[in-house]
Symmetry: C2
Subunit: 243 residues, 2 copies
């Protein structure tokens, strides 16, 4: 047996996130079905994390154990021909037997995209539509205050199941390119809805509805109600998993 | 009453083309329903042309007659809030009573997009995936031979209903940008599947499966079997209607 690390990309629009669940189609499920079709038997697949319904990924990682005799290139090509258009295997490589897609992950990078201007059906799928331009400098001021080790409890939704809500954000900034704005954040881990709430708060700061020093208040008070909205999932991309 | 010209954009993936038809959702139908909801009564909408199932449009035009008292800006904003994410009104302006979206159209511009490299779920929706790079110079040679007034009968599918199959192509070229290739063509009119067959033939030329002078042969013999495949609809965009 050998252990394989698969990096996949998916358009999450039609999926209930990564993790298999009853009565909903998930990415883990369609990947599992494709692997079963290709290899002739079901295989356990372990993902790097859960993802929420409707969230996209450019590089999501998962591992599985499979036979020694499968060339990586053939595995990748075979899976891509079976998988639906909205899921793709980006790369496939052998890893050591004790590698674990979730426990070995040192961090993750997310990007939340927004677009300005008239409604555009081709942007609607991957960006949040903004009716007016927020102040990018204010948003960036807020983003800087998020960097560091903090208790992000007040930046998470109540559905969370973890005990420890302290996370370390190593990078956080806002970027404007043409009519697009991206909120980008890298951390050692993320709480439930954390990126969508951070971006929603950055936006509230950019529109002057929140003070640009609001993060400090939320770290101290852990009061979710002080921040901005939890933005919808369709603007969120898991960009990269860091090992 | 005033006559209004609407320019709309749509992601055609989930539609059976423009024209209303039984047992299938079309763009004309959802636009008609949105207009009825906004104005309180059904209105006849006349499109600039039919479009095939799955084809997209950046600027599709249609006209309708509505009351004098509807400000154009409110009409646009109102419709966009009712329409689904994959259809948008780009602009809205008053035209003369005798303007006709179809008969006044002097021409149309289409682009067919292809992408190279590994499978990418975000490109899969709007581009044809090519496994290897075709020769762009050969494709452009073919594109040049298409320009002019010719009988395009051999570049159309048998479902066509028109008598006159002569069309004038004013512009036709192939463009490579990064890992994307675009086949762009402007003409006074298009036959059934014409752009998808022209692009398929350009691709056959680019891969050396057809001679780059093949167009002349097809114009003379009207033999559809000499050209390349009819490419799938998802790479095709109606870019612009010329009035």
């Amino acid at each position: 047996m050998k252990r394989v690390l698969l990096t996949i990309a998916f358009d999450g629009t039609n999926y209930h996130g990564w993790q298999v669940q009853p009565n909903a189609v998930t990415v883990q499920q369609v990947l599992g079905e494709a692997i079963e079709e290709l290899l002739g038997a079901p295989h356990n697949i372990t993902g790097c994390s859960r993802t929420d319904a409707g969230v996209h990924a450019r590089e999501f990682c998962c591992h599985l154990d499979c036979g020694d005799n499968i060339p990586e290139k053939a595995f990748l090509t075979g899976l891509n021909s079976i998988l639906p258009d909205d899921v793709a295997v980006v790369s496939c490589r052998e890893v050591s037997d004790d590698f674990h897609a979730r426990y070995n992950a040192k961090g993750k990078q997310y990007a939340y995209g927004m677009y300005m201007g008239g409604k555009n059906p081709f942007d609607e799928r991957y960006f949040l539509h903004l009716n007016s331009e927020p102040d990018i400098n204010l948003m960036n001021f807020f983003a800087k205050t998020v960097i560091g080790t903090h208790d992000f409890c007040g930046f998470s939704s109540s559905g969370r199941t973890v005990e420890n809500t302290v996370r370390t954000v190593s990078e956080c900034f806002v970027e404007k390119t043409g009519n697009k704005i991206y909120f980008k954040v890298t951390a050692d881990g993320f709480l439930y809805n954390m990126v969508r709430i951070l971006t929603g708060t950055a936006l509230a700061v950019g529109y002057g509805r929140c003070n640009c020093n609001i993060a400090e208040n939320i770290f101290i008070t852990k009061d979710r109600s002080l921040g901005g909205d939890t933005l919808p999932p369709h603007g969120l991309f898991l960009e990269k998993v860091i090992y």
